[in-house]
Symmetry: C2
Subunit: 214 residues, 2 copies
DNA sequence: CATTAACCATACGCCGGAGTATGGTGAACT
DNA sequence: AGTTCACCATACTCCGGCGTATGGTTAATG
């Protein structure tokens, strides 16, 4: 299970739990107290599994073996939880993008790695996929827009580095990003080869061949 | 407003309304009785506007200026309505696909027209877009699978006609269909050029150039 | 003209999730 | 030792959609 923003809780919430109670890792605990971050992570897990419409606070609480009473101490509403969870996810995704594409020298390899990444980082992608299904949701929409902008900027930059003129690079970036989105959609429909088969590899090769120059 | 399966109501429902009451177009009517087909069309309209999760029977009834009492005469449940509405939509879409692609001679033009179709037939595409957001829904999933299969078969056939070997044609079809799905997604995120601008046309040209040989 | 059948309205009970109120508990500090 | 505070449980109310029951209305028909 990924962690989504490991520590650095300087901005934890507005004025609530800090949960620094782990100065001494007590003996019989392992039933310590929950923090807002725990709820956010659980929310993202649930979204990944069951989609946005399944994000209800009571089922979530049941799933965590706890009651609503806890939730409404950490958050003022369901909306607030979603907001924080989305922020957490977006930050995580943004860092991820830089980490996995920032340190690859050749732009061609960067582009290829963009596709290969679909298989890795499952949770992040599952969340993303569900968020895409919830475009139109007022809280989700701006997130998707920013993420798309960021990713397409990366792609576009890579193409420019490969000597493509700006307009064409933009178009190509949009095109590739569309392919990526469409792939996620087909994946949700179980209409994509099993992701680690040779069929899949051949398809990826085909995509790379037709979409990435050189 | 499109009609989705105009007449031919031989299979109207199981044994219910036939609604042939319009033998004499009476004078003061225009407040005639509703049929199951009316509910199905209204359901599709609602899905197109607000998505699957908004398909609730009471709001739908309000929207139609009527009450639940009518609905439960025509249908046994919300699920039954959805089922019929999806059947209606799928048939309509299937006929549409053949109509708009079946009579174009050159396969290249057929492929190009596949993209241009996104702009036309708004309602159908809006419904489709919302259905995509509801992949995972047990009643929607099989529909999406069949539709994807049908469309990719068309695309694949066109590429083969252009002299492409079978495997490559399949891959290319999947690729193009992915682009199409991704485009719909970006459209829902309002991140696609305004659909009738030159920006849009240039993008389409770029797509056609890089994805369609010759 | 009375009856039947198609169609719709009204009124109900049920369920599940959102919030609220309030009280309980354990650890930490004084 | 007692108070405080962070955290959680319990028990409500409210709301909106689902499905049912039942009765009303209208048109066709014998």
């Amino acid at each position: 299970m990924l962690d989504f923003l490991p520590v650095s809780n300087q901005n934890e919430y507005i004025g609530y739990a800090v949960n620094n109670t782990k100065l001494k890792p007590l003996v019989k605990n392992e039933r310590t107290t929950l923090s807002a971050a725990d709820w956010e992570r659980a929310a993202l897990d649930l979204i990944a599994e069951a989609g946005m419409q399944a994000l209800a606070i009571e089922p979530l609480a049941r799933r965590m073996g706890i009651t609503k009473g806890s939730f409404y101490w950490h958050f003022s509403s369901r909306e607030a939880l979603l907001e924080q969870a989305l922020i957490r996810w977006e930050e995580h995704d943004s860092r991820n993008l830089n980490a996995s594409l920032g340190e690859i020298d050749h732009p061609r390899d960067r582009l290829i790695s963009f596709f290969r990444r679909v298989g890795k980082e499952k949770l992040t992608h599952e969340v993303f996929s569900e968020l895409c299904s919830a475009a139109g949701h007022p809280q989700v929409e701006p997130v998707l827009e920013r993420v798309a902008e960021r990713r397409m900027a990366h792609l576009s930059a890579a193409f420019e580095e490969m000597g493509m003129q700006v307009d064409k690079a933009r178009h190509q970036a949009r095109l590739i990003y569309s392919v990526y989105l469409g792939f996620l959609q087909l994946q949700k429909q179980q209409q994509t080869p099993s992701l680690s088969s040779e069929e899949f590899d051949k398809y990826i090769d085909h995509v790379v061949d037709t979409l990435i120059p050189n």
